[in-house]
Amino acid sequence: MNKLWIDERYCKGCLICVDVCPAKAIKASKEINDWGYILPTEDDMNGCKACGLCELMCPDFAIAIEEVDE
Amino acid sequence: MSKEMKANNTNKRLHNVHLLKPGEYYLQGSQACIEGAIMAGCRVYGGYPITPASEIMEYASRRLPQVGGRFIQMEDEIASASLLIGASWGGAKALTATSSPGFSLMQEAISIAIMSETPMVIIDVQRPGPGQGYITASQEDVMQARWGHHGEGSIIALAPSSVQEMFDMTIEAFNLSEQWRTPVLVMAEEPVAHMRERLLIPPWNEIEIIDRKKPQDLGIMPENYLPWGHDIVAPMANWGEGYSVNFVALVHLEDGNITKYSPQMHYDCIERLFRKIEGNVNEIARIETKFLEGCKNLVICYGCVARTAMEAVIEARKEGGLDVGYLRLITLWPFPQERLRDIVGNVNTILVPEMNLGMMKHPITEALRDRFQKIVSIPSLGVLHSPEYILSKIYEEIR
């Protein structure tokens, strides 16, 4: 399964990644960062094909997908 | 720098090609100015036509392509001054020329250039104002030169008085701008820009050309480079040289970082800019004097008015037997206050002929406040003073 990395330092909680993910692999968490923004987190990563749309559409360079070979 | 970039860098390419050969010429001040600029290494000119400065850009449009440089007629003076910023950081020495209304439009870009420490040269062939004013001779921008731009930034401004000086002082302006990383103004007037006189081009190796200090030459690597640090005048990496310079004109740290704002950081940033120029006034500013030794009265002047003033002073001494000294400000800004106090003793009367209603009289008064009995302005609007006029004022005030 691929791994989702959220950069807490840069994320501003806009949740665009949650909306654009075609695999519905990302969801809003209950966690907030030091700025007070809600962080996204992994949902069901089974469908993630590392299409990169979340990385591409993130306004804050705060998300990264790590492809994991199994 | 990549190969392609090197090949296209107009500043390096065609260096020393098609320069005016040493010798005698009979040229207009406007032409001498461009020849001086080309001699200094200027390879970009951008401007907008305005009387009485248009001759400078017309001549630039002929000469620049001949020396491998580039000339462009921009859409307005705002664009022309902004263009210089881009050209300078792109690695070229760049020039524009304008007249008073255009000079007003350039003030924002001048302020940005002071803050970003961008070397560039602006020629202002002043014309009378306010408004459209008139198109003849004027010295009404000397205060705008110093105070026209927003913010607490100092400036260097020179005042040539002959065709030869239009050449020499344009070179000097480029040298000062490169040496101090700051915009430099040449405050010319219509008579100087349009008169024709002998221009002597000295042997090229006798002409001093100063280029900006580079981090490459000082062994500073990109990762340690501070575009506004290292020294009171920072070494300057041009764009395209691999130093990833982030040009900012907001209050910044020495590396260009803008997130660490504090009143102290603000003070340090601006105070250095101010000190860079005002603290080195004695190195930058030049004064010319004659008959100063123990003189009881003094004429202080600048620009082409100095020519008339000198004529009047000589006649007043010879025919009137009056004890009158002569002092010319070659550099208007930074104002050499201490130097002036060093060389001017106690006098009775100071006369200040200017083609305005008495502008430079103010800093002169401030500098010499306890050295004179009275200070008198000799104003002339729109026309160069005649020797008779200055002479009559000398007789009126001194006798």
Partner: protein
């Protein structure tokens, strides 16, 4: 007439000077007329001739503004073997007046006994012939005769030359003409100069 070119590469290598001429403290020449008569060009030619080919100092200034393109127009040359400080005419030694308006505007600044050169066909009211040395040349008429109105300035210059021959060589003026007029008109301009020179006559009055 605009200069044919600008910086020629061989220029500035040093010049052969003409024969020795008189030393001058300050000599002032004013040329006045209307735009299009080549007033500015005469000034430039004189200035260049004095400076580059005679080794004297000279300052050439011109009236500036809308009037230099139509309307009144003047050009001035101040010559000296010493330093020229004030660049403009104070009291002219020479006035070339090519129109009635120009004559009226500038006659007051001409020295008593100064040289006044004019085109009699353009002047309605002749000035006091006993106060000045008045010379006449029908510059426009001669110019038309050899090629057109635009050569009248060279005719006038030719007419002036004999009066200032003590301070400048003919060769210097001819060289300055050929450097400052379009290449294809150099010969006609020189002919105009010679015609002016041979025609000019002193008007002693009656």
């Amino acid at each position: 007439m605009e200069s044919s070119g600008f910086i020629e590469s061989e220029k500035g290598d040093g010049y052969e000077r003409g024969d020795e001429v008189s030393h001058i403290e300050r000599y002032e020449i004013r040329i006045a007329g209307f735009g299009g008569q080549g007033v500015v060009t005469i000034g430039r030619i004189l200035g260049e001739a004095f400076t580059l080919y005679e080794g004297k100092n000279s300052v050439n200034t011109q009236s500036y503004g809308p009037e230099s393109r139509g309307g009144a127009c003047k050009s001035e040359v101040v010559v000296s073997d010493g330093e020229i400080r004030y660049p403009n005419v104070r009291k002219a030694d020479v006035l070339i007046a090519l129109s009635q308006v120009a004559l009226e505007a500038y006659i007051a600044d001409l020295k008593e006994g100064g040289i006044l050169l004019l085109d009699p066909n353009s002047i309605k009211n002749m000035p006091d012939r006993h106060k000045y040395q008045v010379y006449e040349v029908p510059a426009l008429e001669i110019a038309h005769d050899i090629g057109g109105a635009r050569f009248q300035n060279s005719v006038a210059l030719g007419a002036l030359y004999p009066q200032i021959a003590h301070i400048i060589n003919e060769s210097s003026l001819l060289r300055a003409i050929s450097e400052n007029v379009p290449v294809e008109t150099v010969e006609i301009n020189i002919e105009a100069f010679k015609r002016g020179m041979s025609y000019v006559k002193r008007d002693e009055g009656k």
